[in-house]
């Protein structure tokens, strides 16, 4: 029999049972043995004879073992609770263990359990107090936070409690405030808790973790910890390993406490007081110096714990970011690690250097290690190490080394692991654009990217190369020639066909002089790929074909044959069918002049941030240090506009009457400005139906409050009375918005003198620019519908929404309606996905009182995390998962994009289910944005 302790707590029956289970030859035998045991225990618990404590403990422990094997346990909970009131430690311990593992926080027994914990927590025996504290820390429910949030801090600062109890109390309290931040009053305990750092005993790792969290939750109250943490750290790093006896680990004094203190200091800006700052810098220097000393042991535990402290010190040096000397020294130290035989150290050095590359003081020092890093990409066996090398190469890339780095990344891409290919493609695309001194290099790189990793080239990447080619006259001829050559490969990727189709459609004429790429050769080459492509690519190729008709009138009949082929005209795909029909009509009805106007070369794209960069940021918020402001983009909006021009042209020929046709403008093949998923928040829809008002004098109506539902959705009925229905469909992308309005006359008579105009009040002047694309007609026939489009741009932050004035006459009675356009600031918000670390470090950066707005309010709807998450997403924020330690809490992040600025916003919504209350906290780089969002959202949860 294996080691079973010979002391008094041994439970022989349990050991025998475990042995029996282990000896079972099959699953069935095991189940049989377990069922026998369960029946035995059940009869003991139900029996007339009262069980003694020992037996109860033994049976409860057996039940726990059975549960841990993966079987359901539906009895024994009461017996476990009974064990809590035993005076014997071993019985209590088993009782608490069973409860911690098996009892859910909403159990009926919880009140009883809490009562027992209350008794033990005030027991004179420290071991009982600890058992109770550990149970609270392990379960950590809201109910416990409420019951013990005021009690536990008392133990923590008590003069009588032992170090062991204080350790448990510190972490117990930490758990309680993570569950329920308002469980304790922060300011009240601040001074006493901070001064724990002065305690002469070394139990402080636990206390430092607590202070770290308190500093995050209430930085002002706890900022006094900085100088105490610095002196504590100083005493540790200057001690010799014999000073700290029990807390020295493989000759390193208190490594875990050092790490915790260094992390705590990253919560605050660098101390202003010269003495404290000086002492801190000395500590950091000492830590760096120690790495140069000969090791006191060859054991890996020695170097690991020393380096744990070192890496944390480097994190702090990067956080301070104002000590050039330390930054460069840190970089040199990491440089040594890059060649270390320990894989762990090479990995960590790459990771840490990536951060150093972002500091102006150490960026150059990092670049010196380029060759080593490239070598790591080629030789490292562990993919996670290679991934870090890619990150670092990306971070250190500049004008001087970009060609080499991009070439190495492309070479690596061929054999890169699938998991990281898409991200690498984005990185290569960004670097090649950012550092392109010569656009032939850029075009070559992107086309090579499509060849090497076509499946991983996302839309953003191939859209981007088109945007750039269109905006750069000097790149167009080369791009046409190169893409033509690439298309000649027998198996070329569909993304290549897309890029080829688009570029040749625009610039095919530039290479048509060469007979090897004559118009017909170009067309045949593209069309040879047509049948192998998906519908979206075929749709794009059809647009190329109509463009060819304009560019090369000589091959018009060939192309018309293709367009008029039944494969196209009767295609099951509505979009393809419609394009083929429209294009073939366009080419046969119109004159060459009209054709030339409609199919004119695409205008240059407005200069703006790269969509690829936005995508990479989304993928990996932390790793993006390159900024690409001021480059062209928004291919898609222009494409939509061009399509709508073509369709507007067609509406001259046939008058569509159904709303369905108008909405086809936004048909799924062109969801090009898709932003948030359309959320069907039907609950709000009925708010909109207002009673008809047919008064004699100009009847005025207003939808002052009715546009609230549009906060979460982009289409629907904006207004309706007995005469008119106004439908709306909007699209937003970055600071641009396009509002489609559909006015339906519900009567049998003509509505006359119809006018619809956006009016900007003083609060919106200069903040929103409106360009009306197309005036609505001045009459609407009975039963007919007209459409009206408004393009607008958000210049800077605004509140409320602009008005739309409608005027018309019905049976010579003037009518007037003022509507609120569903153009609200959140429409210009884009969600930003980020991980927990990034979220909270940004949260912390936005810690100024002016940057935060917080409201505590009664829940207006049942508290439901999923519904709240859906609302937040509809609002435009990214609802982040696995970020807040409390899964009940909802955290989100987004950026409001206006022409003049980008405003980052973070949100945290904490429900209190018992009280049916919410606490909503919004932080933003611009205080008014935080206040605005808070007030907008408050009434919706």
């Amino acid at each position: 029999m294996p080691t079973v302790s010979s002391r008094g707590d041994a439970m022989r029956g349990l050991a025998v049972f475990i042995s029996d289970i282990r000896n079972c030859k099959s699953k069935e035998a095991e189940s049989k043995r377990i069922n026998k045991e369960l029946a035995n225990i059940r009869s003991k618990f139900k029996g007339d004879k009262t069980l003694d404590g020992y037996s109860k403990k033994k049976y409860v422990c057996k039940l726990l073992f059975i549960f841990l094997l993966g079987h359901d346990i539906d009895f024994g909970h009461m017996e476990a609770v009974n064990l809590l009131s035993s005076n014997k430690y071993t019985e209590k311990q088993i009782g608490y263990l069973f409860i911690s593992v098996l009892v859910s926080s909403n159990s009926d027994l919880m009140k009883l359990i809490i009562q027992n914990i209350k008794n033990d927590i005030s027991s004179p025996k420290p071991v009982h107090v600890n058992l109770a504290l550990h149970c609270i820390a392990n379960i950590g429910s809201v109910e416990m936070s409420e019951a013990f949030g005021q009690e536990v801090p008392k133990l923590l600062v008590s003069a009588h409690a032992s170090a062991s109890v204080k350790q448990s109390a510190a972490l117990c309290l930490l758990r309680l405030i993570r569950t329920l931040p308002e469980a304790m009053t922060y300011a009240e305990w601040a001074s006493r808790v901070i001064h724990l750092l002065n305690d002469q005993h070394m139990w402080l790792t636990a206390a430092t973790s607590l202070i770290h969290t308190l500093s995050q939750l209430s930085p002002g109250d706890y900022k006094g910890c900085v100088s105490l943490a610095v002196s504590r750290l100083s005493r540790i790093v200057t001690s010799t390993y014999t000073d700290l006896q029990d807390y020295t680990y493989y000759f390193v004094p208190a490594p875990w406490l050092s790490v915790k203190l260094l992390r705590l200091l990253q919560c605050y800006p660098v101390p202003e007081e010269p003495a404290v700052r000086g002492r801190l810098v000395e500590c950091l220097e000492t830590i760096l110096n120690k790495c140069q000393e000969p090791p006191k042991s060859k054991k890996v535990q020695h170097s690991n714990s020393k380096n744990a402290v070192l890496f944390e010190a480097i994190n702090l040096i990067i956080h301070i970011d104002s000590e050039p000397n330390l930054l460069v020294r840190a970089c040199n130290q990491l440089g040594q690690f890059l060649q270390h035989r320990e894989t762990n150290l090479r990995y960590l050095a790459l990771e840490s250097m990536c951060l150093l590359a972002g500091s102006e003081f150490s960026a150059d020092a990092v670049k010196k290690h380029r060759e080593t890093v490239i070598n790591a990409l080629k030789t490292e066996r562990d993919v996670s190490v290679r991934q870090r090398a890619v990150d670092l190469l990306y971070a250190m890339c500049d004008k001087t080394n970009s060609e080499e780095i991009v070439a190495e990344m492309l070479a690596y891409l061929k054999k890169a692991d699938y998991a990281i290919r898409e991200e690498m493609v984005l990185k290569v695309a960004i670097l090649s654009e950012k550092y392109a001194s010569d656009y032939t290099w850029y075009v070559d790189t992107i086309l090579k990217l499509i060849r090497v990793a076509g499946d991983y080239v996302s839309e953003e990447v191939w859209h981007r190369v088109i945007q750039i080619v269109i905006n750069r006259d000097d790149a167009q001829g080369y791009a046409a020639k190169t893409v033509f050559e690439n298309l000649q490969a027998p198996a070329c990727h569909e993304n290549m066909v897309k890029v080829g189709g688009y570029i040749l459609g625009e610039f095919g004429n530039l290479i048509a002089g060469d007979e090897r790429s004559s118009p017909l050769v170009q067309f045949n080459l593209l069309h040879s790929k047509f049948h192998l492509c998906t519908p979206s690519t075929r749709a794009l190729l059809l647009s190329t074909y109509i463009k060819f008709i304009n560019l090369f009138p000589e091959i018009k009949p060939t192309i018309q044959n293709v367009l008029q082929n039944n494969n196209q005209l009767r295609n099951a795909d509505v979009e393809l069918q419609q394009r083929a029909l429209e294009y073939s009509q366009l080419s046969s009805i119109t004159s060459q002049d009209v054709l030339a106007t409609v199919l004119e070369e695409m205008p240059p794209f407005p200069e703006r941030e790269s969509s690829i960069l936005a995508k990479l940021k989304k993928k990996k918020p932390a790793s993006v240090q390159v900024s690409l402001v001021g480059s062209p983009s928004l291919l898609l909006v222009s494409l939509t506009v061009q399509m709508s021009l073509i369709r507007a042209y067609f509406s001259l020929f046939y008058q569509p009457t159904s709303i369905g046709y108008h909405l086809a403008l936004f048909s799924p093949t062109y969801p090009l400005m898709h932003k948030t998923p359309v959320l069907l928040m039907d609950a709000f829809d009925d708010v909109l139906t207002l009673p008809a008002d047919l008064g004699e004098s100009p009847s005025t109506e207003s939808t002052e409050h009715a546009n609230r539902p549009f906060m979460f959705k982009n289409s629907g009925v904006l207004f309706e009375n007995a005469l008119i229905q106004v439908g709306v469909k909007c699209e937003f992308k970055e600071q641009y918005g396009r509002v489609g309005l559909f006015f339906g006359n519900k009567t049998g008579n003509q509505l006359q003198n119809f006018a619809a105009a956006v009016s900007l009040g003083p609060e919106h002047q200069g903040k929103i620019n409106v360009a009306t694309q197309k005036e609505p007609p001045s009459q609407i026939d009975g039963g007919a519908q007209v459409q009206h489009f408004i393009n607008l741009e958000c210049i800077s932050m605004f509140s409320g929404s602009p008005n739309l004035q409608l005027r018309y006459q019905h049976s010579s009675a003037p009518q007037q309606v003022t509507l609120k356009l569903p153009v609200i600031i959140n429409k210009f918000m884009e969600g930003v996905d980020m991980n927990s670390g990034d979220f909270f470090s940004r949260w912390k950066q936005l810690g100024q009182p002016t940057q935060e707005t917080q409201k505590i309010f009664q829940a207006r709807h049942p508290i439901d995390t999923e519904a709240a998450r859906t609302k937040l997403t509809g609002f435009g924020m990214c609802a982040l998962t696995n970020v807040d330690p409390n899964p009940e809490n909802l955290v989100g992040s987004g950026i409001i994009k206006t022409k003049t600025s980008q405003i980052g916003c973070l949100l945290r919504l904490e429900p209190n289910k018992q009280a049916k209350m919410y606490r909503l906290t919004v932080r933003s780089s611009v205080g008014e944005a935080a206040a605005l969002i808070c007030s907008m959202l408050e009434e919706h949860f």
């Binding site: 079973v4 707590d9 969290t213 790490v259 762990n344 990995y347 996670s384 470090s841 949260w843």
Partner: protein, 146 residues
């Protein structure tokens, strides 16, 4: 680099049998089972030349293998890798001393004591006590209580 805590601790053998699972976040039972299986799949394919850290969902696993047992700690990606790697070793040395040359079977037969050892060294997802001397003293004191 803000909320950083241990999300869970797992001890598994090569065959995937769990010898200890300690959760510091709320997971439902199905989710726990899934995590256990995924962690096993992630760590067992790695060899000794690989790092002791591996990205896992939005977190990372810091792990070390001792004979047939994998000791895994799941932490946030920005947390200090080496500090947790050595926290694992520190824990293993305590187990070794407490059980006099610990082996897998000790963890099976004394599962309820292993929880006590864990709670002495880790609590609420944080490192509690790091001194082996202090932990052993405390464990021996508890061992002698009735």
């Amino acid at each position: 680099s803000c909320i950083n805590m241990i999300r869970f601790i797992l001890i598994q053998n090569r065959a995937g049998k769990t010898r200890l699972a300690k959760w510091y976040m709320q997971f439902d039972d199905d989710e726990k089972q899934k995590l256990i299986e995924e962690v096993h799949a992630v760590v067992t394919v790695r060899d000794a030349k690989h790092t002791n850290f591996v990205e896992f969902r939005n977190f990372k696993i810091v792990y070390r293998r001792y004979a047939g047992l994998y000791f895994c700690i799941c932490v946030d990606v920005t947390d200090n890798n080496l500090a947790y790697l050595e926290a694992i070793h520190n824990f293993v040395e305590v187990l070794n001393e407490y059980f006099h040359n610990v082996c897998e079977l000790d963890l099976v037969f004394n599962f309820y004591k292993v929880y006590t050892v864990v709670d002495e060294m880790f609590l609420a997802g944080e490192i509690r006590e790091t001194s082996q001397t202090k932990v052993i003293q405390q464990l021996l004191m508890l061992q002698n209580l009735e």
